[in-house]
């Protein structure tokens, strides 16, 4: 009876530019992270804690937004202050296009480079060229490397077929990758003998399987959730204290007050059976409303 509910929504809309062809597409989130989030509460009144911006030079006063500026720390304690307008001036002017640069073999891209995947879906008018691009990638076993501006940031990205659809993977630029050689202790000096190697190989053989991601679960998250649900079922739910100034925002804030009010009303009805108890109130109301009901005939 209410309006239809929104389903999964596109997070971005633009076009793949591929030679002279432009393919209008939409991006949808391909990964929904299921991280647990906890609020930090004050132990005494269960009020969620707030962070305040404080200047250590004037610790008693909160700094308001109009007195905050962005500073780039050029060396310890020395800053270059940059204004938002200055950043805007050099921001990438994304023409809402995913511009294909090259086609490469997927195996040549180390998984290290991949950042975030999105499902790519053509708009109605892009169906045919989309299908064409997908088909050539499938047939040539190549993936497209593209540049795209997403939400004000320039990204490297790979477009690749997945099942019968297409995925855009945002990628890290090469200068973001930390070379393994730069990590201390990277070089390991140890000699392997052939007997140990053989044993290890047979162990790997015995553990070899097809990759089935559904076999692995976030056990810790599941255990924490179970703990939370158990505590919630046992009514181990704490409600934060209310402050004078904050008007209640959600129905949750009301429940305890409603409960208390009803308990009070019931108690009063039991002890004196007067008009504030339910039965008395009810019949008095029925009498008041009844004439309305019967007056009209259509």
């Amino acid at each position: 009876m209410s309006e239809s509910k929104p389903t999964s929504r596109p997070v971005w809309s633009g076009a793949i530019s591929f030679g002279l062809i432009s393919i209008p597409i939409r991006l949808y989130t391909a990964i929904r992270e299921k991280r647990l989030h906890f609020r930090t509460l004050h132990d005494q009144d269960k009020m969620p804690l707030k962070q305040k911006m404080i200047c250590p030079a004037h610790p008693t006063k909160e700094v308001s937004a109009e007195h905050m500026v962005k500073g780039y720390e050029i060396e310890k304690d020395r800053f270059v202050v940059v204004k938002p307008a200055e950043l805007d001036a050099v921001a990438p002017k994304g023409g809402k296009a995913i511009e294909i640069q090259d086609f490469v073999e997927l195996a040549q891209i180390d998984p290290l480079f991949f950042d975030k995947p999105y499902h790519v879906v053509p708009k109605a008018e892009g169906a045919k060229p989309f299908k064409l691009l997908l088909a050539v990638m499938q047939q040539t076993q190549r993936v497209a490397i593209a540049k795209v501006v997403l939400w004000g940031r320039e990204n490297l990205a790979a477009l690749r077929p997945l099942d019968d659809g297409m995925v855009l993977e945002t990628m890290h630029f090469s200068d973001e990758v930390v070379p393994a050689q730069s990590v201390p202790g990277h070089e390991v000096n140890a000699k392997l003998d052939s007997r140990e190697m053989k044993m290890a190989l047979s162990l790997v053989d015995s553990l070899t399987a097809d990759f089935d991601p559904s076999r692995y679960h976030d056990d810790y998250r599941e255990k924490v959730l179970e703990l939370i649900h158990k505590k919630a079922e046992g009514q181990e739910i704490v409600t934060r204290a209310t402050t004078e100034e904050d008007a209640p925002k959600s129905g949750h804030d009301l429940v305890a007050a409603l409960e208390a009010s009803l308990a009070q009303a019931k108690g009063a009805a039991k002890s004196n059976g007067r008009a504030n108890g339910r039965p008395a109130v009810h019949s008095a109301r029925s009498a008041r409303v009844a004439p309305h009901h019967r007056r009209r005939s259509a």
Binding site: M1, L258, S261, V289, R295
Partner: protein, 312 residues
């Protein structure tokens, strides 16, 4: 499209053109568009006061209840010039759009001719779009829970609201559900009705966690009555009292007294909660408009401050 000739009828001085009157809109019952129009013309005297000034969304079933339907917010441009409209902000369209307003029986008949089986008004009047005239709850059973479970839950809420000094009125959904209306007709905001209705639904869920849920997700609803409080929102519509519903057979969202609800619960007879258009019309003739107080009764939501409810 069949080539049946259009016929014009004059209703209260307005000429309404009807098409395809023999078209069956409820195939299981053989109920035709002509019968839909006839129902809305006859129910008009009690229905119109409830629609007065409210922007309407039409729920149209051009090829009958078992074929695709669509919601129409924008009042069709090919409307007769006497059909009133109201310009109301639409969040989904991100602009003001002209909704139909049913000011007279001719408009109801014209809407029925568009196969607009269901009438869904906004809860506020167009001149005060931020002020709901009532607070509503929709009791919707998740199978195997059924109509009688809804009645039990609605009776319980009636009692709670009574404690809080609020009168409430029930109507059938036309299916297995119950709609509860709390007339306000006083200055109040959707933020207030939404918060209050959510609180009441949560309270009921906490009191009867095995039978009641306030959670919209389908998985939480199995075997429980879902109390939908979320319709208390400036851009959501809810089925009007006396609206036909697009079920398999024609039924009417019909006001029902609390005594009748208790009797249905006692007799365990869900059939007492379903009314055909003919039955709904007969009830109005006999009982008048059981929803009339919804139009006039002025009520204020209890005040809430610093964790306490102030009733009355």
């Amino acid at each position: 499209m069949s080539a049946a000739p259009a016929s014009a009828v004059t209703i209260e001085g307005r000429e309404v053109r009807f098409t395809n009157l023999d078209k069956v809109l409820y195939p299981a019952a053989g109920f035709t568009k002509g019968e839909v129009i006839d129902y809305y013309r006859k129910i008009a005297p009690v229905l119109l006061p409830h629609l007065k000034g409210h922007a309407l969304t039409l729920k149209r079933y051009p090829n009958g209840v078992d074929q695709p339907f669509f919601y129409e917010k924008r009042c069709p441009v090919h409307r007769p010039d006497w059909v009133k409209t109201a310009s109301v902000w639409s969040d989904t369209n991100n602009e003001n759009i002209d909704f139909c307003v049913a000011a007279d029986a001719a408009t109801l008949a014209w809407m029925a001719n568009l196969a607009s089986l269901e009438i869904h008004p906004l809860l506020s009047r167009a001149d005060k779009p931020d002020r709901p005239t009532a607070m509503v709850f929709d009791f919707d059973p998740g199978p195997p829970a059924g109509a009688l479970d809804c009645v039990q839950a609605a009776l319980k809420m009636h009692e709670i609201l009574d404690h809080l000094g609020l009168q409430s009125f029930a109507k059938t959904s036309g299916g297995k559900g119950i709609h509860l209306w709390i007339p306000l007709n006083t200055p109040v905001t959707f933020a207030q009705t939404k918060q209050f209705s959510h609180g009441v639904a949560l309270l009921m869920e906490r009191q009867s966690p095995a039978e009641i849920t306030s959670n919209m997700s389908k998985s939480a609803r199995g075997g429980k009555v879902f109390i939908d409080w979320s319709q208390n929102d400036s851009h959501k519509t809810t089925a009007a009292v006396y609206s036909l519903r697009a079920r398999e057979t024609p039924s009417v969202s019909t006001p029902i007294s609390w005594d009748e609800m208790r009797l249905a619960a006692k007799k365990k007879d869900p059939a007492r909660l379903v009314f055909t258009p003919a039955q709904a019309l007969a009830r109005v003739k006999k009982l008048g408009d059981l929803f009339e107080p919804v139009l006039k009764l002025k009520q204020k939501l209890p005040k809430f401050d610093a964790g306490h409810i102030h009733v009355g």
